[in-house]
């Protein structure tokens, strides 16, 4: 049970990352391969605040959110002027630059990292794995709710307009540049919030845990589930996050299986498992449509039958 819960916490952390990454990659269509680094920024600041300044876990959550958000704002303002592939590679570069900062700046504990991060406590009780899962799920629910809310706002619609056609979006009055930066900032801030959970959950943060590969995995999860949809983001994190554990029994071929499943998905179902236009979604749509039509027929038929 406890083991499943720990796997669950990992999965939930990934899900927060994918849902938040979806804001910039899914809604705005801007490639971002630095989500792992923003997780790292949040985790590092949470670790510093709790070990060096003995701040409560609850206080580190907004602080991690804010610091990662500020980093996202600055880095986004610099890099979002670039388009598509230039941007993709620049965000890959951000991983290396941010990891170098962790490694070289003594504030972040240098190469040794920061360890002995205390367990958070609530009402005097130290966190159990269940508590981590609870807080993680609440964070996930929050990020999902914000994403869903955004989808229904003018802001959200403008983001999707930017994704569809930047020039046309700007011609109807969307402030393209600043909206991109806002979305990037929001996405980074949520990743930072996940970091505030990551740090005490792992009890230690080290520079090399937050590199390029972590960022690739998060983006791969999002694409696997279905870019642009919250359900896809969550499902991708759940499946790919749990996969390495499911494949423990073939330990030597685990990473290979992971790669193979990802590749098969990209090759045969690039819309993702439950993204718009994926086979699964089309089938469900058709089925519900059919169901509704039948029910509709039923309701119109029945009075006639009664007469």
């Amino acid at each position: 049970m406890s083991y499943m819960i720990v796997v669950g916490v990992t999965v939930v952390i990934y899900a927060i990352l994918t849902v938040s990454l979806n804001i910039i990659v899914g809604y705005v269509g801007q490639p971002n391969l630095a989500q792992g680094a923003f997780l790292g920024i949040g985790a590092y600041f949470a670790a510093v605040f709790s070990t060096r300044y003995h701040m409560s876990f609850w206080l580190t959550i907004p602080l991690a959110f804010a610091t990662a958000g500020v980093a996202g704002l600055v880095l986004g303002a610099i890099s979002l002027r670039l388009r598509e592939d230039f941007l993709a590679i620049t965000t890959i570069g951000l991983n290396f630059v941010i990891v170098a900062v962790f490694q070289y700046v003594p504030f972040f504990g240098g190469a040794v990292g920061i360890y002995a991060i205390p367990l958070p406590s609530i009402a005097g009780h130290q966190f159990s794995n269940n508590a981590f899962l609870t807080v993680g799920l609440l964070m996930l629910a929050f990020v999902m709710a914000v994403s869903k809310y955004l989808e229904h706002t003018w802001f959200g619609a403008s983001l999707m307009a930017i994704r569809d056609d930047e020039t046309a979006a700007s011609s109807v009055g969307v402030p393209v540049a600043s909206y991109k930066v806002i979305a990037f900032t929001l996405s980074a801030a949520f990743a930072g919030m996940a970091g505030s959970l990551y740090a005490p959950f792992l009890s230690a943060v080290t520079p090399t845990s937050f590199g390029f590969i972590e960022s690739v995995i998060v983006l791969a999860m999002l694409i696997f589930g279905g870019l642009g949809t919250i359900r896809g983001a969550v499902l991708g994190a759940v499946i790919l996050g749990a996969l390495p554990e499911a494949f423990r029994f073939i330990s030597n071929y685990r990473l290979l299986m992971f790669g193979a499943i990802l590749l098969l998905m990209l090759r045969f179902q690039p819309e993702g498992l439950v993204g718009e236009g994926s086979v699964l979604v089309k089938l469900t749509r058709r089925a519900t449509e059919e169901l509704r039509r039948r029910r509709h027929k039923g309701t119109t038929d029945s009075p006639a039958a009664g007469v």
Binding site: P31, A88, T90
Partner: protein
């Protein structure tokens, strides 16, 4: 000191140029950042090593390695990249990274986790140039590098394939409407791009006397920085960027020490230059025009 740094920087730059040239040609034609190309590099290094161990011929090692990698590249474009081309830039990018990671695992399972040494001696002398030393391997890298670069320039500028590459890279649809067999052009570019990767792999293996499953990690990231810096899809820009990164790295280390990780140096150079020139050093896809 200056001279030897200059030589080291140019040798390193040539290696980077060799590594990045294949992906540049592929980007030019398909607009795909082909990270899997670096799996071709490692495949070339392992194949070259195994053939060398069997035959003790460097030439045979190179030729077989090129064939093996080229075949790998052909299969990749045929069965992975081309079917997902219309899906925007992100999906092929992630697919390429997926191939790259999966292949590292394949190499580990097939050849073992331990590094293997590549004990080839290069039949070239060590040259002394005014106090600086150029080893035989470095000389080989320079010679092969120059030969490949000149060869690429010639093929792109003066041959029918070059014309087709330029036409297809500028506008695939128009080219295909004008009767260019774009499928064939793409396949050929992959064959060439992966054969180049194999050459880089063998040279890397010999130069550093080591071949291991994850030997492509650092070249992969650096290659990305270089081809973007070079203007994405511009072979001449790639060569310039490779030289720039090679020289900056070498001089930074020689005069300031290991102040920063080399990967970070490459990407900081990239970010700074992109801030000034968002289109890279040389924009466009043409070769030197």
């Amino acid at each position: 000191m200056v001279l030897s740094s200059l030589i080291n920087g140019i040798v390193l730059g040539s290696l980077y140029a060799l590594i990045a040239l294949g992906p540049t040609l592929i980007y030019g034609i398909l607009r795909i950042l082909d990270i899997a190309n670096v799996a071709g590099l490692t495949l070339g290094a392992y194949t070259g090593l195994k053939v060398f161990e069997a035959t003790h011929s460097l030439l045979a090692a190179l030729v077989v390695a090129m064939l093996a990698s080229a075949a790998f590249g052909y299969l990749l474009q045929r069965f992975l990249y081309r079917p997902i081309l219309g899906r925007g830039p992100l999906i092929p990018l992630i697919a390429g990274i997926g191939v790259f990671i999966a292949m590292e695992e394949v190499f580990r399972l097939v050849f073992g986790p331990y590094p293997l040494d590549f004990p080839a001696t290069v039949p070239l002398p060590t040259v002394h140039v005014g106090g600086a030393v150029v080893t035989g391997v470095q000389l080989l890298i320079l010679i092969v590098g120059i030969a490949v670069l000149v060869g690429t320039w010639y093929s792109l500028r003066r041959t029918r394939l070059g014309l087709l590459w330029r036409a297809t890279s500028q506008d695939t649809e128009t080219a295909s409407a004008m009767g260019v067999n774009t499928g064939l052009v793409i396949a050929t570019i992959f064959l060439i791009g992966y054969a180049l990767a194999a050459i880089s792999g063998v040279l890397l293996g010999i130069n550093y006397n080591t071949v291991y499953p994850t030997m492509g990690d650092i070249p992969a990231y650096k290659m990305l920085a270089i081809i973007v810096l070079g203007g994405l899809g511009n072979p001449l820009g790639t060569i310039l960027a490779a030289m720039l990164i090679g020289l900056v790295e070498t001089f930074v280390v020689a005069y300031l020490g290991f102040v920063l990780p080399r990967d970070a140096i490459a990407f900081i150079v990239l970010i700074v230059i992109l801030l000034v020139r968002p289109q890279g050093l040389l924009p466009g896809e043409s070769f030197g025009s």
